[in-house]
Symmetry: C2
Subunit: 355 residues, 2 copies
């Protein structure tokens, strides 16, 4: 698989990438290597990673609890304190080995540790491979508000190795797949049309699909790294998705939704709004709804759940001047951004999603 050169770093594919990683580490005078991972990856991914790590740089492993509920400042403080106790300095480098929680949080920790050290991402979930670890968005949540604390910071290297996916649960694979569907919906109709019938997809060549998604994401990010404009399209499904995700995350009576599952729901609702406010054909909306619900089912939402979820919309990073702004589809494969949307229309979209 061909590697991808971004403006700031290389995205390397496959097991042969570790050789380059070792060379990079050995040649850049790092004093120490910190490997940040969670307890799941520690068990399932780290032995393979370490057996493939050809470096002379002394390393330490820092393990945190898994899950979105741990992607918070307190966890960062604990990791930073540990790095300080282990004599981390400004010539240290951090490698994240994990899913989106670890790559998001690890990138943030590296960016603020002693005002910034280098980092490298080794995503181990499908979602992190196709989305979270690419493009330099780092961050943590605050009181359930998603990624409201963070920085834009590019890794020095990114390795995508599908071997990590072998131990991943089907639910996690499906969650990552939602971001791939999103890439198709906003940017590449052929890609979406191939992916939407999941039964016909050739998972034997999942790496090629991941590669295609990364090319799309990188194309968008390169044009607008700090999300002043175009990059917002990567947030399709995320305005409503994040709101529902935050509500579920902070409500003890709810089983936490995976990010990709929330985005799948959000994409249906925002496709509904797209037929109202943008140029999406009703038939395309119905097809999107059918395709996504065939894969993800329907999340059970009471009227109260809907109203409570809407409370989280005010924290969306695309808002300005007090208004909610969505990414919408003009057609499958073509998106627009900064479209003002009313809460009423979002409620209609959620009701259409449920019925």
């Amino acid at each position: 698989m061909e590697n991808i050169k971004t403006e700031h770093y290389d995205i390397l594919f496959g097991q042969e990438a570790y050789g380059q990683l070792g060379t990079y580490l050995n040649n850049n005078g790092y004093s120490k290597l910190f490997i940040l991972t969670d307890s799941n990856c520690y068990e399932h991914c780290l032995p393979y990673f370490l057996s493939n790590l050809p470096t002379e740089v002394p390393f330490e492993i820092i393990e945190v609890e898994p899950g979105e509920e741990n992607k918070v400042l307190d966890t960062c403080a604990g990791v930073i304190q540990t790095m300080l106790e282990l004599a981390g300095d400004r010539k240290s480098i951090l490698i994240t080995v994990g899913g989106g929680v670890i790559t998001d949080m690890g990138g943030f920790i590296a960016s603020v540790f002693m005002r910034g050290i280098d980092f490298i991402n080794i995503p181990t979930s499908l979602l992190a491979m196709v989305d979270a670890s690419v493009g330099g968005k780092t961050g943590v949540d605050l009181n359930g508000i998603k990624n409201c604390i963070g920085v834009f910071a590019m890794p020095k290297m990114l390795i995508i190795d599908v071997n990590y996916l072998e131990t991943l649960e089907a639910r996690q694979i499906k969650a990552g797949y939602a971001e791939m569907l999103k890439h198709g919906l906003i940017f590449d109709a052929n890609y979406y049309n191939y992916l939407k019938d999941i039964a016909n997809v050739d998972f034997g060549d999942l790496q090629a699909l991941i590669h295609h998604s990364v090319v799309i994401k990188n194309t968008v990010v390169t044009q607008d790294p700090k999300e002043q404009g175009l990059r917002k399209i990567l947030n399709f499904g995320h305005t409503v998705g994040h709101a529902v995700e935050s509500y579920f995350l902070t409500n003890e009576s709810k089983q936490t939704l995976l990010h990709g599952e929330a985005v799948a729901l959000g994409m249906v609702v925002e496709a509904f709004i797209s037929k109202e406010l943008a140029q999406l054909y009703e038939q395309d909306y119905l097809n999107i709804k059918h395709a996504i619900q065939s894969i993800y089912g329907v999340v059970d939402l009471s009227e109260d759940d809907i109203l409570n979820s809407l409370e989280w919309l005010k924290f969306d990073k695309k808002n300005y001047s007090g208004n909610i702004r969505c990414v919408l589809l003009n057609k499958i494969g073509e998106s627009v951004y900064d479209i003002e949307v009313s809460k009423e229309l979002i409620i209609s979209g959620l009701n259409s999603y449920l019925n």
Copy 2:
């Protein structure tokens, strides 16, 4: 007083600067202005600031508790939550009105709020005017370890208005003065020689002295904004100073030292080491010790205090490969950096400081 243009922003002097601030705010499409201050400045500085603020941008004031002990992640989380509740968005701007604690922490909060918004510094203490607010270092402490979490981020504008100093206690003025002495010691012998006899200094033209210090700091920072090399000289006195400051900060039986007071102590100790490891004449060391102790007195340190303070040296950001590195003086006005120093020599320096 002539304004100073840095590579990224302007440093404006005097009361007439607020006109430019208002124009800047009105012309840059900000949705909301957050003013971060502490309860002391809220009382003494904010009425004057607000009466001079000619802007149409809607603003909110966020007040935190004063003091270094509040320059921590928890305070940042509280401020960020408040900004989110007050409908802060990516087009918001934050203005810090306060001393070094507020400018350090406010710059950090702005840099991580929704992955970064603009900020402007209005330093109200002498220390923040000559040092903390200039040069783009932002950050907070963790468990007493100074500024170990932060980013390099430049403000959009900086206003230095000596009117704020009128309500400042003498102890605070003296603390800021230590950083001015430092600027002389590392970079400008004439400046140091003028400042060292504080009885002869013309405080009627304090603004001119502040201006001179800012020119020195800016000259250094411009050559090395991210402290890869030269900028380290601004840390003269800070290796030992930060260690003692952290020990006092985290020890309930100690009255907290102001940052400038700790740096004054550190400069004497590091001048002692300079005569041992660099080319500083013994007589110059004795003169520096005499001058600084005439202004700041001698901080009382027991043998236990010394040993406990030394424990904090391992967290210094200039360390690498496990060794402590100091900025030393070859002579008054000329400094070198990255010099490896043993704990034994630091103990000797502290004992010389005490005797």
